[in-house]
Symmetry: D3
Subunit: 136 residues, 6 copies
Amino acid sequence: MVYLTRRERFNAAHKLWVKDWSKKKNRQVFGKCANKNWHGHNFELFVTVKGTPDPDTGFVMDAKKLSDLIKKKVLKHLDHNNLNLDVPFIPKGMQPTTENLVLVIWQQLEPHIKNCQLHSVKLYETENIFAEYLGE
Amino acid sequence: MVYLTRRERFNAAHKLWVKDWSKKKNRQVFGKCANKNWHGHNFELFVTVKGTPDPDTGFVMDAKKLSDLIKKKVLKHLDHNNLNLDVPFIPKGMQPTTENLVLVIWQQLEPHIKNCQLHSVKLYETENIFAEYLGE
Amino acid sequence: MVYLTRRERFNAAHKLWVKDWSKKKNRQVFGKCANKNWHGHNFELFVTVKGTPDPDTGFVMDAKKLSDLIKKKVLKHLDHNNLNLDVPFIPKGMQPTTENLVLVIWQQLEPHIKNCQLHSVKLYETENIFAEYLGE
Amino acid sequence: MVYLTRRERFNAAHKLWVKDWSKKKNRQVFGKCANKNWHGHNFELFVTVKGTPDPDTGFVMDAKKLSDLIKKKVLKHLDHNNLNLDVPFIPKGMQPTTENLVLVIWQQLEPHIKNCQLHSVKLYETENIFAEYLGE
Amino acid sequence: MVYLTRRERFNAAHKLWVKDWSKKKNRQVFGKCANKNWHGHNFELFVTVKGTPDPDTGFVMDAKKLSDLIKKKVLKHLDHNNLNLDVPFIPKGMQPTTENLVLVIWQQLEPHIKNCQLHSVKLYETENIFAEYLGE
Amino acid sequence: MVYLTRRERFNAAHKLWVKDWSKKKNRQVFGKCANKNWHGHNFELFVTVKGTPDPDTGFVMDAKKLSDLIKKKVLKHLDHNNLNLDVPFIPKGMQPTTENLVLVIWQQLEPHIKNCQLHSVKLYETENIFAEYLGE
């Protein structure tokens, strides 16, 4: 079992805001992440698959195809978009935190990984904060 | 003459859009940077001052005070805000590109640098793109 | 189960020296790390907690609160201090190696993590050496 | 159980090419990685061992000795060499992909790790692609 | 005058070898960089142009077009190729050192920079070595 | 004229403290950098030389020889030492700030650079603070 990881990047806007809460409570819980007119990040995404290297190619999975898959299923929707408004696979009302994003990105990718398994989705929001989901 | 640089970071949303242009022309020129609902970046800012180290302290400028100044005059307005909507020192209609941002950040800082000189304002928008202004 | 990681940094002095050993043996085992007048590092600390994102906030834990906790329980004692002399939670005679530091940092943090679990404490001493402890 | 990691680097040439395949099929599968006259990378290698810190030294393993071992058993053969032509421990016909490289590097190191255990061999081929092997 | 920089990357093989020298002298001067079967690097290229931001777009130059130009005039020839054998714009017998590479990359780009000026070509061969050329 | 840069690293302890000042004034000016028992850093040093690439070797200066020179004249004295106590070329009473360090490192190196010129000495104290000296 070898683990292969591909890094991708996307730039997106978001804010953290619970509709049913007062402005004051949103401010208390989310601080400046609740600012009205959005802020944004350079997100760094690490997707790891695991499997046995093919005896001919030496590939667990073709890293180029993994990249294409991430672009098609994930980045196309997230890159240069607004995570609260524009993304079909982020349910309405779900906060676009890194923790929630790794969950929905996993769901976007997992059905399309063939001949090996999705192992991890890791997402950096800043150089100081990242979240990871291992599927369970 | 010694050059001292301080790095700061801020996270902001923006888009590139010329009001007087058609949607089509905006798309042609700015691509996905013109997307309607904003996107954003982790901006990295490098501010360099130059001068002679003080004989007692060995400081060209106290790096902590330089940091405080950048926070007060620049980051307070940019961090977790929308560069098109929220920033008093970005003129209406000025595109918030990295090139324009280094110019307005220079203007925010320059009058407040005492006992040494502002030398450079450099701003990374992504790991692949940055702009620098040297005051002339 | 989602894993959330927060990076923090501290700058500290230390040396490696076993009191009961001769100068020669200390030199043999620790090399220049045994130099008399200390040396130091920019330590990079990664603390990972795991849990289920809160349905309202999308947080496993508020990253700001995790940062505050690390600052209060760990960095306050380590940052700009001497790891051999100044830190109440490093037992006398324990070598301040990265391996031992992750153990004592774990003990400082673990009792204070509420509503989720401490998963990992990872510490970089240089860009080439780091240690990690997972609690068992 | 504490995990200690050492980073090392090597620069090598390689290409991906299956002898029994046509030029066209090699091109289809490997793209520009099949270019005739080789290309190369700055590989970054992370070797992790696990064990209990020694009560005297605080070391799971002396990081300097781990570095020496990696240099002697791995880098001596890989650094500034051609991974398809020059490396005794890469079997003829095995593609020098990152996935296969972590497997053979593991085999080079594992028998020589004493008093603690080899836990992981991780190899970056570029900033966007890396593979890891955990021994099973 | 604002400076805009674009980072690009390419992976290539090379070796350093003077034909008219003995094997021994090549070894003395170039060390393992003279190894017969090539080695390689992940090269990081920083291209800087300077000019006045356009009043409408805020661009000194469209960073996407700068990237396209670098890809077309430089990376197409260098990426996944052999710098000693495959590159039309590296004269036969010129050593493919970082110092020489920045010179020939400058010559490839300079005639095609319109409406602003090429300011700098900087090239990292490893994290420890880079060269820069400013056109004079 | 091509600029060639070599990165080196050293780990050292220091503190900032003016003997003739009260404890209170030292604390006011230097904050936690004045802590009694020292702190330390992973310093990153970038030394740049400039010249014309040799027609045979393509070198402005052999980067290996530049590295050896930096190790012999600078790192031997700074690495794993105390910048306030152990370094012959730091005058007594000179604060070991990054600003002062680039000055004394320049003086250590400049007389030994042959056939090309020393252009810059740049020193990172942390990821957020660095100083540079250009010789004038």
